[in-house]
Every structure is written in C-alpha cells, then in structure tokens.
C-alpha cells in the first residue's frame, strides 16, 4: 500500500515547483514546459538531493517511487495519445519535395552522426550486456526525435503556424516523430526478444498485424465517433470514456506484443479522425488533467532518475559536450542544409533547423524507455537529459537571433490564425 500522506505531499510539492518554474520560464520567453522540465531536475538528486539530502529522502523515499512512476506513466500514455491526435497526415502530403527531403535528412543526419558517436561512447559509457547495435540504434532514434508539441506551441505563440517555415517545420516534425517511434519500437522488440522465448519475427508480425487492425478496423469505428460529434455537436460521457478505454486497450496490446505501452496510445491518437473541431474537443477533454497534474509528475520522476553528479570529471563533461554537439549538428545542420538546398533562404533554413532541434518532452519519454530497458546507462541518461534541456531551451533565443522579422510578429492567443491549433499539451505550454 502506498503511504498516501507522502504521495499526496509529493504531488503537491511537484505541482507547486513546476507551476512556479513554468511561470518564471514564460517570463523569459520560454515555453512553460521547459520550466517544468527544469523543475523536475531540481527535485532530483542533482539539486534537492544534493543540498538537502535528508529532506529529499523524506519526500521521495525509494519505496514511494513506484507509485509516483505509475501515476506519471498514465499521464504519458494519455499524452502520447494527444501527440498522435495532433499529427495530421494530410499536412504531410501537402508539403511536396522540399518537406520530404528536409524531413528525411533531419532524421538520417542526426541518426547517422549519433551512430558514429556511438562507436566512441559504447566502450566508455555502456557495458557488455548491451549489444552495440541496440546501443547505436537507440542513440540514433533519441537524437533524431523532434518535440512536435513544443514546436507547435512555439510556432503558435509566434503566429508562425501558417508561414512557410511553420508549415514545413510541423510537417517535418511529424514525419520525424512517427519515424523515430517506429525505430524505437523495433529497438524495444530487438532488446526484449533477446530475453524472451518468442522469436523476433513473431513479435514483429504481431505488431504489423495489430497496426493493420487498428488502421483498417478500429479507425472505422473512430470515424463513427466523429460523425456523431458532427451531428450532435459533442460526445456523451460514455463515448469519451470509451475513447479512453480504447487508448488504454491499445496501450495494453502493444505492451503485450513486446513493444511498449506508449506505442499503442500514440497509434490510437494517430488514427483518430482529424476533423479540427473533433480534435479540439478531445484535446479539451483530456489535456487539462494530463498536462497540469500527470505530466509534472513525469518530469519529477525523470528528475529523480537524473543525477548530474554522475557526469564528473573533464572526460565525462567532454562526452556530454560531444553529445550536444552531435545532436545539434545533425538535427539543426541537417535540416538547415536540406531546406537550403531545396530553395529556402539561408536565414529561414537556419530557423527551420533550430526549430527541428527542439527535443523537449518527447526526448525525455524516449530516454526513460531507454533507461527502463537498460540500453543506456544512468550517466548517459543524465547527459542526454541535459542535451534535451539545452536544445529545447536554445530554440526561442536562437530563432529570435536568426529570424528576428518572423519572431517580432505579435504573439497570438490560442484562437490564432487557424481554427484549431493542433497543440497537444497546450495548456502546459508544451
């Protein structure tokens, strides 16, 4: 049984710290989510555990972390559904060659550079229980991800969603995320099948079959919900609850198939009908509790697993700098080069690269999976978390530096220039 007093105290402290940090970061023109991510780190051994170890041990006893983790994982399951919900394949199709090349390069460049880096880091930060292939592929997937929701939030706040830069960035980020999650699913299957009696081909076959059932079977049912919504202007509580049950069932299916709960919830979101009012309606139903209550718990749990003290000595800090350099060169440089080659002006191309370099919450989700399946070590996890924080933090100021004209546009409210800002976690500023 959880110690309810401690659990409620933890939730209260996490919410207060996250709200305060989020508000402070908004004052320096950062999305709220960046402040909340920092707040999570502050609550962990990197700060609170370091300056007040006894209070930290009282507030976050090891025996209580399982419950905190469980709550935060429920939040991430719903969050991934909202991320999938925000991805619209039609937007991807409408971008043409420029977006196709840019999005593919923005995946392959960081991915390939990360695998080169893996050659250097594997003997130094991993151990021989992890196969090099898994390590390298994970590093590639983790570096090629883009925080689609954070990106959308930044673009929406700056009224850039309808600009060429904005539309290409959104399309590329969506392609990156879908690809990144597919690669990650493969890595999880690869790793789990090594300790399972089920053949990897059986698992992969099961995953493909599940995806086909979702796309050609469940999607039809979901379209009926959209039709009911159109006819009645809303959905009954029963239908909303049923959608939530479908999300959880889908998550359970992918977990049973040997990948991860989050793939199921992401896929469920991705196959939902994309009529803007319908999407907005579902976002309104799900995002408030998720982003104000459950996601801060995820940030806190991530912070509790992040120990910057593990990065000690000049050698370890050099690894950390290398990770940051490779991540930025691959993502920012790759996207910039590809968009410039396809005719985008140099400054705008650099702006696009900067936007694509935003990793945010999506990176934390992936890194937590990596640490859970032990494909990355605690020190590497801490370095990658720092890389995620820095690349997300640098987006707004660098964008302001590179594209001052675009960034000087008056920020708009949620109603913005499009009927429904497809911004999962918008309430949290993510």
């Amino acid at each position: 049984m959880p110690n309810l007093f401690i659990l409620v105290l933890q939730i209260a402290v996490v919410l207060v710290i996250c709200r305060v940090a989020g508000t402070l970061f908004q004052k320096i023109h950062q999305p709220r989510v960046v402040g909340e991510m920092f707040a999570g780190i502050m609550l962990g051994p990197s700060l609170l555990g370091w300056v007040a170890p006894h209070f930290s041990a009282y507030l976050f006893p090891a025996s209580s972390l399982g419950f905190l983790n469980a709550l935060s994982q429920v939040g991430v399951i719903i969050f991934m559904f909202l991320v999938g919900l925000g991805i619209n394949p039609r937007e991807l199709k409408s971008q043409g060659h420029a977006a196709v090349l840019t999005s593919h390069v923005s995946i392959t460049a960081p991915f390939v550079l990360a695998t080169f880096l893996a050659l250097y880091l594997y003997p130094r930060l991993s151990d021989n229980s992890v196969a090099f292939t898994s390590f390298a592929l994970f590093m590639g997937a983790a570096m090629s991800i883009t925080a689609f929701p954070v990106l959308e939030r930044i673009l929406n706040e700056r009224n850039m969603l309808q600009s060429r830069l904005g539309t290409v960035a959104i399309a590329c980020a969506a392609v990156d995320d879908v690809t990144g999650w597919c690669i990650l699913a493969y890595i999880v299957v690869l790793i789990r099948s090594a300790s399972s009696e089920t053949s990897i081909w059986v698992t992969l076959g099961g995953v493909v079959l599940f995806a086909l059932i979702m796309i050609y079977g469940v999607q039809r049912l979901l379209k009926r919900f959209a039709t009911i919504f159109e006819a009645q202007g809303g959905l009954s509580e029963n239908i909303v609850a049923f959608v939530l049950i479908l999300v959880l069932a889908s998550a359970l299916c992918t977990e049973s198939l040997g990948i991860h709960l989050l793939f199921g919830s992401f896929l469920m979101g991705a196959i939902m009908p994309k009529k803007q009012r319908f999407v907005r309606y579902l976002l309104d139903r799900f995002e408030t509790v998720t982003v104000t209550l459950l996601l801060p718990l995820f940030f806190a749990f991530t912070g509790l697993r992040t120990n910057i003290a593990l990065v000690k000595g000049s050698e370890m800090w050099m690894y950390c700098a290398l990770i940051l350099l490779v991540a930025t060169a691959g993502k920012l440089g790759g996207s910039m080069l590809a968009s410039w080659i396809t005719g985008m002006p140099a400054r705008e191309a650099a702006g696009l690269g900067t936007l694509m370099n935003t990793r945010g919450l999506m990176e934390l989700v992936i890194l937590n999976i990596g640490l859970d399946i032990k494909v990355i070590s605690p020190a590497l996890f801490s370095m990658m978390v720092m890389m995620a924080l820095i690349t997300t933090f640098m987006t707004s100021p660098v964008l302001e530096l590179l594209c001052p004209d675009v960034m000087k546009r008056k920020p708009v409210q949620a109603e913005g220039s499009r009927d429904v800002p497809l911004e999962p976690a918008a309430a949290a500023g993510d």
Binding site: F111, T115, V130, S134, L137, L310, L337, V375
Partner: protein, 163 residues
C-alpha cells in the same frame, strides 16, 4: 525528367541514401567493439567478517556481512550501495575498485578514515550468474583486519539486443 525533380533525386541520394549506407557500415564495424564487463544489478555478498558492534572501527566490516549490494554501472564507472552505505568505483578489465562510505556518517565517526571501506575484487566474467571475489578493508585503520568476500549477481546476464 524535369530539372527540379532531377535535383531532388540527386540531393536525396547524397543526403539520405548514402548516409543510410554509411549507417550499415557503422553498425557492422561497431560489432567488434568491446565494452566494459557488466557488473550492473543486485549482488548477494558473503563475507567472513566477524560479527560485532559495527560502530567500532575494527568491527566495521560486519556491516557488509551477507548484505545485499546494488551496483549501478555507467561504462567503467559504477555506483555501489549497501544498506546505509554507498560509494563509487571503477572497473578495469575484470578488476573492480570501489570506496564505500556510510550515508548517515554518525556511528562510524570514530574511525580515522571516517568509516570509509575499500573494496578490491576480481570478476569471474565467464560464470552465469556472475561471481566476484575480493577483499574489503577499512581505510585509515592499519590495525583492522581485511575481510575476504564473495558476491553472486542475482539477475542472470542477458545480452540486450542482437549483435
């Protein structure tokens, strides 16, 4: 083929297809790399330490008698914890060196080394579950006797992912 399409195709080959070919090469060459031996996980330690009052320096090693030890590894570095003690260490080949200190500190303050314990061990990497054996000694206490120990890893070694 229109001019723009040709440019697109050329750019795609150079920026996407070629790097992917390079990726295959990297994955192949990486298979020959050797990472440090894995010691991560929970270990069950058996020592020949005499039981006694662990707050006295010579009996300090009684704290580690049959204690569960957890190792959290990051490459050649690792964190080690056992009950109220914790520390860091390094693995070089099959040799481990670590230093443990009491987290609370108070009961062991009468030791010259502040209750710090040194661990030196050799790993038998061929066994599964993995076994290590070595010596525990109290730092800064020449009169304290070192104690031999043997530890067995609780979780069996399994390679994570294909080679």
């Amino acid at each position: 083929m229109p001019h723009s399409n040709r440019n697109f195709a050329i750019a795609y080959v150079f920026l996407v297809a070629l790097p992917i070919t390079g990726l295959v090469g990297v994955l192949r060459s990486g298979r020959n790399l050797k990472a440090p031996t894995s010691v991560d996980g929970a270990w069950k330690v058996r020592t020949g330490a005499a039981t006694g009052d662990p707050s006295s320096c010579p009996s300090l090693l009684a704290l580690y008698a049959d204690a569960p030890v957890t190792i959290s590894q990051s490459g050649t570095n690792f964190g080690i914890s056992s009950g109220q003690t914790g520390g860091t260490g390094v693995i070089e080949g099959v040799r481990l060196h670590a230093s443990l200190r009491p987290s609370g500190g108070a009961p062991l303050a009468n030791c010259a080394g502040g209750g710090s314990v040194s661990l030196a061990a050799t790993l038998d990497a061929d066994t599964n579950p993995r076994v290590m054996s070595g010596i525990l000694s109290v730092a800064g206490c020449p009169s304290c006797e070192s104690v031999e120990f043997q530890a067995v890893r609780q979780n069996p070694t399994q390679k994570k992912g294909a080679q």
